[in-house]
């Protein structure tokens, strides 16, 4: 009898531990835990890796808002979604194929996460806070000439795609800059898993590949970092939006964070923060000034 009770107790403890590992925490648990875990990949000026960044500041403000401590959990692009959702998946276009489970490591993703269909199947997204698009970049020595903007994004995309025939495009698998998501006919997607997103522009500059695609904020950072070394050829995507990722198991957290984000927007602080880290973004997306 004693042995049976011990076994039952051990089972309860084990199940509780597993549940804590597998499920994401909702707002109440975060407040009880007194810590908000920010899952982030060092990327552009969203998460600089030096303890600041646009998303870092926003989530820090939110942690202060709900009265808990902020904790940064460093991730990689390959695992950041599963670190929140607890599921290991293989994206197949807009669909996903679940191939296993993984431990949940945080409560909210914030690193310039583009809203994509396959990601929506795994996590919830907050209200969008940052507009973006995906641009095609080449080195200054490339023979390709940038497109002449038509004023219509659809036409610009077609004109950009025409440049790509027979070319190789460096991208990052299963991210918003995976060429496979943009129907680049006649072009070959090239991947190098050893490269981070921040390494793609240097790879083009060094001539390792002729072309790459980057989202607008990363492009702005790269252009500022390597003046005159890169040229933007055009866009391969319509306008996209970035948002914070929150587990589907955390509806209260999502609701609370969205409310906070709206207050931040109304107070004008969001615009100030965005222009602090991306002073030029409003030139390309004037709606930022409405934040």
């Amino acid at each position: 009898m004693v042995r049976r009770r011990l076994l039952e107790g051990a089972t309860v403890v084990l199940l509780t531990t597993v549940a804590a590992l597998v499920a994401s925490a909702d707002l109440k648990e975060i407040q009880e835990r007194q810590t908000l875990r920010h899952l982030g990949v060092p990327y552009a000026n969203f998460v600089t890796g030096d303890g600041d960044g646009l998303d870092v500041e926003i989530i820090r403000l939110y942690a202060r808002e709900i009265g808990v401590k902020y904790q940064y959990v460093k991730c990689s692009w390959a695992t950041v979604i599963e670190d929140l959702s607890g599921k290991r998946v293989v994206p197949e276009g807009d669909q996903i194929r679940v191939i296993g489970k993984s431990p949940v490591r945080g409560d909210i993703i914030g690193n310039g996460l583009t809203v994509m269909a396959w990601r929506k199947k795994l996590i919830n997204f907050s209200h969008p806070y940052f507009p973006t698009a995906v641009w095609l970049l080449a080195g200054e020595d490339s023979d390709l000439q940038p497109i002449r903007p038509s004023g219509d994004m659809g036409q610009d995309i077609e004109a950009t795609r025409l440049l790509l025939h027979g070319k190789q495009v460096l991208g990052k698998r299963n991210t918003c800059i995976d060429p496979m998501f943009y129907a680049l006919k006649g072009a070959t997607a090239v991947y190098d898993d050893s490269l981070n997103l921040n390494d793609l522009a240097p790879a083009v500059i060094k001539g390792h590949t002729e072309l790459t695609i980057l989202d607008v904020p990363d492009t702005l950072v790269a252009l500022a970092k390597f003046p005159g070394k890169l040229k933007v050829l055009g866009t391969v995507s319509e306008k996209q939006v970035m948002a914070f990722g929150i587990s589907k198991d955390s509806p209260k957290l999502l609701e609370s964070f969205n409310r906070f984000l709206e207050e931040l927007r109304k107070s004008g602080k969001l615009r100030v923060l965005i222009e602090k880290y991306y002073p030029a973004i409003a030139l390309y997306f004037p709606e930022v000034r409405k934040n």
């Binding site: 200054e140 903007p149 072009a187 070959t188 997607a189 702005l220 003046p227 390309y284």
Partner: protein, 1050 residues
Amino acid sequence: MSEKRADNVYGKDKESRKYTWVFAIFLVMILGSTSYILIRLYGTSVRLVEANTRSFSQQTRAKASVLNEYLSWAVSEVETLARSKTLQTYYHNKALGMSLEYGLSLSLVQMNDKFKRYLETPASSGLPVFKQISFFSLEEGRILAQVPPRDGQGSDPVQAVATGENFEKGLAFRTICTENLCRVFLIRSLTYSGEQKGLLVLELNLETVQKKIALGAFPRNDDFTGLMTSEGTLIIGPGELLGKNFHDIFGLSPETLTKAQVPRIATNPAGTDREPLIAGGARLAITPLYLVAVAPRSKHLGRHSPILWPLAIVLGMGGLLLMLAYIFKSYTDRLRIFLELEDSRKHLEERVQSRTAEMTRANRLLRREIGERKKVEEALRESEERYREFAQCLPQIVFEMDLEGRFTFGNYSGLRAFAYTEEDFGNGIQAADIFVLEERERASEDINLVLQGQNLGGAQYTAVRKDGTTFPVMIYTSPIIRNNTVVGARGVCVDLTELKAAEEALLAAHEELEQRVKERTAELHSAYQRLVREVSERKRAEITLLERERFLSDVFESIQDGISVLDRDCNIVRVNPTVEQAFSHLHPLIGRKCHEIYYGRIRKCEVCPAKTAMETGKSSSAVVPKRDKEGNAVSWLHVFAYPLRDKETGSLRGVIVISRDVTKSKSLEEQLRHAQKMEAIGTLAGGIAHDFNNLLTIISGYTELAIRTEGWGDQSNGDLRPVLEAARRGAGLVKQILTFSKRVESEPCPMDMNQLVKQTEKLLSKTIPKMIKICLELTDNLKTINADPAQMEQIILNLAVNSRDAMPDGGELLIRTENVVLDEEYCTVHAEVEPGEYILLTVSDTGRGMETAVMERIFEPFYTTKPSGEGTGLGLAMVFGIVKSHGGHVACYSEPGEGTSFKVYLSAMKNGVALSLPPASEEVPPRGTETILMADDEEMIRGLGARILHKAGYTVLTASNGHEALQVYNRERERISLVLLDLIMPGMGGKQCLQEILKIDPDMKVILASGFPEKTRTRGAIGAGARGFINKPFKINEMLRLVRKVLDEN
């Protein structure tokens, strides 16, 4: 008494006259000294005015110098900004073709940031240098960047300035004045790749400039310093004068101001009731602007005392009148005294008292006049003292000398510079003595020239201090002219020590720089030489590398095997054209996982040569299927994986995968395996058939003998006939087996397959149900083949029967003939076929067809899909055997429900003509009486043969093997006419025995018999000397005819 009184009066007059002259002389001295003081005071005043005039000019120039330096710095800032990387990046990006919508706007943001930083950088005054910075694009025709952005409506003055004219290279100043507001713009042309692309427009912060030039307010504070343009427009100055023309206000043009050595007296704009003004100016060297200074004349040049000259005149005139009055009075007094001489006695004391009172009044008046005169002198002294102190305060050395060339004045700067005291100056220092000995003569000459009325500007000397040390100076000297007469000289001496030191330092730095440049040039030259060598070597290395790379690339692309290079994560890094072509439906290949492409898997393969090589670091290989889009294996690849290592570190970089299409060889292997299997089966079946044939030979032989012996009409014969029939059927089966195993001797002859098909069709039409339609498609001019017609007929019949069985519900049977050529390509995948011309016999049906598994076994003997008892499984095996024995090729094509088609390829003769076969002979077997020796190891067969021959009248001797046969032959050879030998016997075989017999009697007639009618063996036997060959089991008539035939040969 009267005389006494007269003597007294005379004596008093004489004494009075004496005092009068004394008083007159005293009065003249007072008047003279007063005049002298006044004259000296006038001279000092004039000199002070001149000194202050020069000081005013110098102050104006000093301010202009300060402003020049400030503006030079501002211009250098503009140059720095114009050459900044930020602006260059904008044009570079634009030259790259980037548009504002895609990326280029970022450059403008960076430009604005740069402008902002410039604006936030203050000058030494703490105020910013520029008020606004704008970037105007000449290509766009508009302002693209501006900090701070223009606030307000209407046209932007910057736009107006930028578009107003064509600015060449360099810097331009433009001024725009509105009501009480003037703006000065510095416009810098921007070029890129030699073309003018834009303008940098910077608005000068005039507040900072105002601070620099210490603007006063006019007229409240009496003077001001300002800026004006070359056209005379006042851009800095009192608010009420801004934007107005200086010439219109003060009557002076900029040129007039700057050319004049001394300030000009300007018209007082406030009216004639104001005191006169003076104005000075200087052009700001790097700009078209002028610095102007306006001040009340009295403030800088001193005010003439309003009572000085009237007082002097009054005093002079007064003195003169007083003296005249005194003389007149003395005369009248003397006359009166003389006239009153008479009364003097009476009133002398009264007159003396009256006279004394008058003198007292005169003295009081005189003291008052002297007091006023002293006040004037004090005022003059204070004025002189003020200007002297002013001169003393000047940082430059100011001096004066007299006509003797001695210094009469030196300010404190001069005393400090030369280490002299005022006492030294008081002792009279010769001007020429302050220079080193070598230069004194030149100095004296220069001093003489100045004292002769010439100006000496900018003469350099080496001055000697009191302590003997020397220092360089620059001296500006002008004569002092009074009443058109040179009375001395005045000048300014500038200590050039620091300048010289700076020059020397500059020279030294220049020399050091030149030396360093030379050394650096030498180093650079050396480095250049090394670089040239290195570049040459590198170029050679690059060429070699390129050639090697091109060669390797050519090799890589020329190899017909598929080559893929994988990284450590199994991503495909590179493939050669063979792989690209083979997997063209899966493009793109680069960057994707190898298992996705080659095996259609998402995960890595559990067993894969690449994985093995990656894990073990050793080469690995395997034969794997290649799959199509649906995942079906369409061909086979032999995959070799070799680890790819970093040469330097030895670490594994990836894997090289070489894949070779082995589909053909695998097919050939399969065919070979099948052929070997068929061969084995044939050998096995043939062996069994041989033994079985011997048994059938005995059964059928003895049965036939029994029937012949007993007569055909006996009842027992009726019982024997089924035995004989069964034996014959068994023999037929054995023959089919032997045919399959190619042990049936065919009798090829040139024949026409079309003719045979037509004949066979007649037979088929009788045996095949009517619901099956027989169709013939026979090609005209079908080539002749060399084949056994009977066996060909057998092929057609067997295939037709198979088709019939496949179409129980009816259908269509098609027999087609055609000429075909089998090329090398076809033959490479069909091992046993030689390239050449063939006739193709096709037998097709519309029956139920076959599964692949069935099709793979249809040619095996005894394999049948028919119910037990309905088929022997030998029909197609026989077809196979016949075709192979004719050097042909048979193929089957079938799908379930789609019918079956057999294609038989038979080699065509080149010039063959088809022959018709004679009908089989049915004549009665001949008989004989000769003695025949028969040898066979099978006793029953031996007995059977002996009985057949004996029945036909022959005498038969028997032997059980070759040795025995040879013994019998040696013993009975005189009577033996023919020897019948079994080819295969234990011990000595038939062939060896034949040879032995022929050695004994070369003319002996020998027939060989065998159940293995192998052509080569038979031919070998006949070649060895046999006269004929007979198949077992024996057919009596056939055997007897052959025996008779051989016996009858000569």
